[in-house]
């Protein structure tokens, strides 16, 4: 009888995050070389969306439960970063309701971002203890309700959040390298979660909840772990976003961004980390092209331009078309792996298997 000889899990799967990170680094280098301001801003935004979508993937991809609520964690993280880093003199004027220790605080940006992620994670732990008991559509609706509640609270708690208006004065910090660092961090966290015991257990529960229970898996617990980790990453993304714009207001963290990040995940393929990252890159590119078109392109005298507001419609159409031909997304739910030379990964990782049933 032949003994199955296989390399360790890490060796088999490590090529995926490495390839994704190399792609991200290449994009950053190109942006630096091009050097144009607007293009750099687009790339920073894209990296932050990589953080959001890879963070969202940690929960949605592994559990199979669609969440409409994760942008709420971004809201929590961005406001926390505002509380931690706006100079006390400004806070005394605009945010008079802040408790003393926050009103006085002016933390270093990275410490503040870590705490912002932690705050989002703690919030996720508290609400998740109840929400993770729900499954399927009920769970998705609960996440949507969570988003709405966060939005209402941050829009109306004027003395702490500035209400529906914007809070200004968040120190500018996030540039290409910081945003790249954030994106790489989240890709690594998502990869490590995916190959972890909890990641495997959750993916099993996604495919067959009953059989997972028969294998000794406590699905509610594993879902909660993924929910908290993904809330942390998205909270940090919110903080970096705050330091990118210098301004936060609650409606920046609501339906528009929820729609775009979910589209990116679905288009890329929500069952793989590669899908999450590829989805962001593809949709961001389309958005950028549309922005150019909205401004108008000079075609030897004649100017070609499209009406404003066509962005959402186009993304919607692109999503429908891609899903018609690739129901499991561009990556078909597989991971990108290195198949050449001495480092060739054998197929088969946590999620790296063809999706054989057409959404059935």
């Amino acid at each position: 009888m032949t003994v199955t000889q296989r390399s360790s899990l890490l060796v088999r799967t490590i090529s995926t995050p490495i390839i994704l990170i190399v792609i991200l680094i290449l994009i950053a280098v190109i942006a630096k070389l091009v050097g144009s301001g607007p293009f750099s801003r687009t790339v920073v935004e894209m990296f932050i969306r990589v953080m959001l979508v890879a963070g969202l993937y940690i929960f949605v991809g592994n559990s199979g439960v669609i969440s409409f609520g994760h942008i709420g964690f971004m809201c929590i993280g961005a406001y926390a970063a505002a509380w931690f880093t706006i100079p006390p003199a400004m806070k005394a004027v605009t945010l008079q309701g802040l408790p003393d220790f926050l009103a006085q605080a002016q933390l270093p940006i990275f410490l503040s971002a870590a705490l912002a992620g932690l705050l989002a994670a703690i919030f996720a732990l508290v609400v998740g203890r109840i929400m993770m008991r729900l499954a399927g559509i009920a769970a998705s609706i609960a996440t949507f309700a969570m988003l709405a509640v966060i939005n209402v609270v941050y829009s109306n708690w004027d003395s702490v959040t500035g209400g529906t208006g914007s809070i200004v004065g968040i120190p500018f910090y996030t540039g290409i390298w910081t945003a790249l660092g954030g994106a790489i961090l989240v890709v690594i966290i998502a990869y490590l979660y995916q190959i972890s015991r909890s990641g495997l257990a959750l993916r099993a529960g996604r495919d067959e909840a009953t059989a997972a229970a028969a294998s000794g898996i406590d699905i509610v617990r594993e879902r909660l772990i993924a929910f908290v980790i993904s809330a942390f990453t998205i909270g940090v993304a919110g903080a970096l976003y705050g330091h990118f714009l210098g301004v936060v207001n609650p409606d920046a963290f609501y339906l528009g961004l929820t729609f775009i990040t979910l589209s990116m995940l679905v288009v890329g393929g929500m069952n793989s980390l590669s899908g999450a990252v590829i989805g962001v890159i593809v949709i961001s590119t389309i958005i950028q092209i549309l922005r150019w078109l909205e401004k108008g392109i000079d075609l030897g005298g004649a100017t070609l331009s499209i009406p404003n507001g066509l962005q959402e419609i186009t993304i919607g159409l692109v999503m429908i078309i891609i899903l018609m031909f690739r129901p499991a997304g561009l990556t078909r739910g597989r991971e990108i792996v290195w198949r050449f030379g001495p480092w060739a990964s054998k197929p088969s990782t946590a999620g790296e298997v063809a999706v054989s049933k057409n959404g059935a």
């Binding site: 032949t2 199955t4 067959e208 294998s215 088969s348 298997v353």
Partner: protein
Amino acid sequence: MSTALSAQHVSVSFDGLKALANVVLDIPPQRVTGLIGPNGAGKTTLVNVLTGFQAPDEGQVFLDGQPIGGITSHRLRRLGIARTFQSGRLFGELPVIDNLEVTGVGLGLSRRESQARAEAMLDWIGIGALADRAAGGLPYTDERRVAIGRALMMEPKYLLLDEPAAGMSAEEADDLITLIRRIVAEMKCGVLLIEHNIGLVLNICDHIHVLDSGEIIEDGAPAAIKASEKVRHAYMGTQAEAGGVVL
């Protein structure tokens, strides 16, 4: 009380329909216990009760004399009770090896330990070559063997198999018989075998229970079951009419 996984006077009903009525059944260690009965007799429901997926309305389940009612189903696995499902229920998008590893992880093993145990298990069953295949696209027979491997990863004292031979050819069923014998002999496991293939059941079981409309109508050694007029009447009659197995 005896060493066994044991259902004592178990009753279950769904919306007034009695699925199980006062069922008493013992699964002794290192024996193959058969459970047969026509479609809808309540066989799967009994497995669900024995594995904590279904709370009985009346009666109790005992593991080696200890009542195990009220323990959540995922914790029950760790007591050494494993099962397969009538419909397979593999983790379709995971590779075969990961399907087995899930059980190791559920037991609290690290991924490295789970992988080692899963590889050893696949080799033990003789399906090591399937390790990296997606579980979703497997042929029937392989699917069943992977499901058995996944359950055996628990190193269970008791293994409950819900129609493992459904859809198998005679040859494949023979391989299954060999596998079940090895499970009993080498893994020291008590097996409950639910099966419509009567030949297979008579061949391999030490003791057989016959369930009809939720009631155990007969139990005994294979020879006694084969000879039983009651069984022939209640069970085999319907099967024969349906063009099924005749003794």
